[in-house]
Amino acid sequence: MANLQSSFLGIKSPNPFWLASAPPTDKKINVLRAFEAGWGGVVWKTLGSQVKNVSSRYSTLDYNGQKVMGFNNIELISDRPLEINLKEIREVVREFPDRAMIVSLMADNDRKSWHEMVKKTEDTGAHGIELNFGCPHGMVERGMGASVGQDPEIAKMVVEWVMEVAKIPVITKLTPNVHSVVPAAQAVIAGGTNGLSLINTIQSVTGIDLDTLVPNPNVGGKSVFGGYCGPAVKPIALKFLTTLSQDKIAKQVPISGIGGISTWRDAVEFMLLGSSNVQVCTSAMHYGFRIVRDMCDGLSNWMDEKGYKTIDEFVGLSVQNVTRWEELDINYHIIANIDQDKCIHCGLCYIACEDTSHQSINIERGNPYNKYTIKEEECVGCNLCKIVCPVNDCITMEEHRKAPEYLNWIEFQKRGLPLNDH
């Protein structure tokens, strides 16, 4: 049986699933419920200056009847009195000593404020601190959140202030609202951060009410850019994560992966690309804390199946499989094949290929069912037909190498080989 124990910067938790700093971790009552449900740890919702929230606060991107593909919020950091938060954190740590308690902080932009916040946090017995340099709305206008994370110099300075007094591990949470997270990561590592976490939310407009013409969420007839998260952002998060895992400096510190993680599969993908644990929010906000049950169970089964005894054994294994385009093997060639026994004749492969790709599928009209076959000589192996096919393993991509040896683009150019004639 796989061991799901996680140790992030020495902070232990029974599993690698933490709840991210967000509304679900704002109060003792929520966090207790989360721990009872089985979560390994929480990052308590950001503490900092006093704020006032508005109503409404959330909006979503729904797709073909599936709700919450993406989730957007304009909620600020915790709007509860600091003393109450600190008291509750202390109580929860005492009640659940085996779970990880990280506290997210966003102090005013001066050294003294940060020092005070760090000290007060440490007094609660919390195990770690996460610096919120990523919140893209509300706090930015006050020179906090993403406006810190977007400027490596400022980010480094704040980390330095924190590290002057911090006695517990410090994780810096990065914003994705930049063209690359690497400069900020390198800067905060230079400033002394012990670990990184990413991504925070992405600035967004999720949609507009077509009757009122006001974008969502509607606050008295107006809206603002919010922070976008949920399943839709996972691919973006994985990309940013990979850039850190591949960077010589950034990869020296552990990374906590965040961004659209809903299932154990998502979690495994983050860990394969280098995150030591993961943080979850949107999925819990959609279905409640009970989702952790399948996350643990699914992860454990997968690890058993693959023969991994601990999480460390597979963290980062896929990083090496993400290369630069010019290093891809040009001689690798695949061609689609349609299993006629499995085909249900929906024609989706045909119309997708015919209208939008390479006209590589034959159609033989029948009544009512057409027959579809691949024109092998035309197929470029793009995957589109396989992607749109509703039947698992009906369309498979079969290997037909152009030549046995590995050949990349640089070598291809050197040899002056002919380009595609499509």
Partner: protein
């Protein structure tokens, strides 16, 4: 007890004859089902629809919240899309072709989704079509059934002034008079006819029967073209002794009476035998049961494999508590004081395939007798042979012969629907009406 009416209370009758098609209670349900549809290309469902409704498109339009567009998609192919979504044997048409069947999964509920969009459109009286200004051409349509209405609507759309002559008091044809009331309620039939004619340019003259109140020659003279959508008429005789006994009725008039009178006034027996296994036989059997008949037995000369009705229809009869005798044909009805008392049947077996491709029933010589007090004949309908012949229309046993453009041997006289095909589905009649309208427009040099 014998044949009598008023077997059930008003409440029971209302319950038994209410619409059996459950609607989607909420938009969410329709959208959920719409999103199951994978939007096939050159979709088998569309190809299996006699009117070629673009099913993936109208379903996608439900999913995107464009209900008006969805209804227009349906009605532009099938103006009786509302009624068809209730009476079509979809299990052998669109839903039967749904690719989900090939994955052993439930097909998309196409009919239910179609009811959703069309139901809203009819209820809200959405004006989805604008007729062109009148071009002065006049066409007479005989019969306000599915073929006639579809033809009239398509013609009016192009600016033709249409007059429909209908022998009954209401439009809808067999939808109104010949289908089980729990499939299409009288109310929904009326709403559908009103909705179709709301486009304008269609005048329905009721209680005008061809051959009685009007003649074809007269119509030919007064109108630029004529469409005959007169349907089929009389029930086929069994041609067995005892057919004229009291208690022997044909399914067509039984259902007609039921659709034109208060249910409490319709008489039904204790022990009813229904001869036949087509859709009309099912409608007669189930409605006998729903009127309060104690025992209803359906008798068919072949086996379940050859039955003309669909499995869904058969299940309906089973659920209503009807029983079935396969491989039996009526031989004689024995009476007592002029009333039907016993039905003698011959046991059959299957022989070689006949012209229909199905194995033909062969008389074994063995018989059995059953107690009955009512026999309903539902062995098919025969065309208006005499009427057709009198009008000098070329025909085949009463079925009017037409060209590819739906024209008869008489210049400017077109025909379609059951009058031509001898009796098919409503949806086939609608397509025939559309085809004829196309032929008429070409004939009149329009478009």
């Amino acid at each position: 007890m014998g044949i009598k009416n008023n077997r059930l209370s008003t409440e029971e009758l209302v319950a038994n004859f209410s619409d059996i098609h459950p609607p989607f209670e909420h938009a969410e349900g329709a959208i959920l089902e719409a999103n199951r549809c994978i939007n096939c290309y050159d979709a088998p469902c569309t190809k299996s629809c006699p009117t070629s409704i673009d099913v993936p498109l109208f379903i996608k339009q439900i999913s995107s919240g464009n209900i008006k567009g969805s209804a227009r998609t349906i009605f532009s192919s099938n103006i009786m899309g509302g009624g068809c979504s209730k009476v079509c044997p979809v299990e052998k048409l669109c839903e039967g072709a749904c690719v989900y069947n090939l994955r052993e999964e439930e097909p998309i509920s196409i009919a239910k989704l179609q009811r959703y969009s069309t139901g809203i459109a009819i209820h809200e009286k959405w004006k989805l079509f604008e007729r062109k200004p009148s071009n002065g051409k006049k066409v007479a349509v005989v019969g306000a059934g599915p073929a006639g209405l579809a033809c009239a609507h398509a013609l009016s759309l192009q600016g033709i002034d249409v007059t429909i002559f209908e022998k009954e008091e209401k439009g809808g044809g067999l939808m109104t008079y010949g289908v089980a009331a729990y499939k299409v309620t009288p109310q929904s039939c009326k709403e559908e006819v009103d909705y179709i004619t709301s486009i304008g340019g269609i005048d329905i003259q009721y209680k005008k029967e061809l051959g009685k109140d009007i003649t074809l020659a007269e119509l030919q003279k007064k109108y630029n073209a004529v469409f005959l959508g007169i349907g089929v008429g009389v029930a086929r005789e069994l041609s067995i002794p005892g057919e004229d006994l009291e208690g022997v009725e044909d399914a067509i008039s039984f259902i007609y009476n039921l659709r034109t009178n208060d249910y409490s006034k319709i008489s039904v027996g204790d022990k009813v035998a229904v001869i036949g296994m087509g859709m009309t036989a099912i409608d007669a059997a189930t409605q006998s049961k729903r009127l309060g008949a104690k025992e209803v037995t359906m008798i068919y000369r072949r086996t379940e494999n050859e039955k003309p009705c669909t499995d869904v229809e058969l299940d309906l009869a089973k659920l209503d508590g009807c029983s079935f005798i396969w491989l039996a044909a009526p031989k004689e009805i024995i009476g007592e004081n002029g009333k039907a008392k016993k039905l003698i049947c011959t046991k059959m077996k299957l022989g070689e395939p006949d012209a229909s491709g199905r194995r033909a029933p062969v008389d074994t010589g063995e018989t059995f007798t059953m107690d009955v007090d009512m026999v309903i004949k539902a062995a098919g309908q025969i065309p208006f042979e005499e009427l057709v012949a009198k009008s000098e229309l070329k025909n085949n046993g009463g079925k009017i012969s037409i060209t590819k453009s739906a024209e008869t041997n008489l210049k400017g006289v077109f025909a379609g629907g059951d009058a031509v095909n001898g009796g098919k589905e409503v949806v086939d009649a609608v397509q025939a009406g559309k085809d004829a309208a196309k032929g008429i427009l070409t004939y009149l040099g329009i478009k």
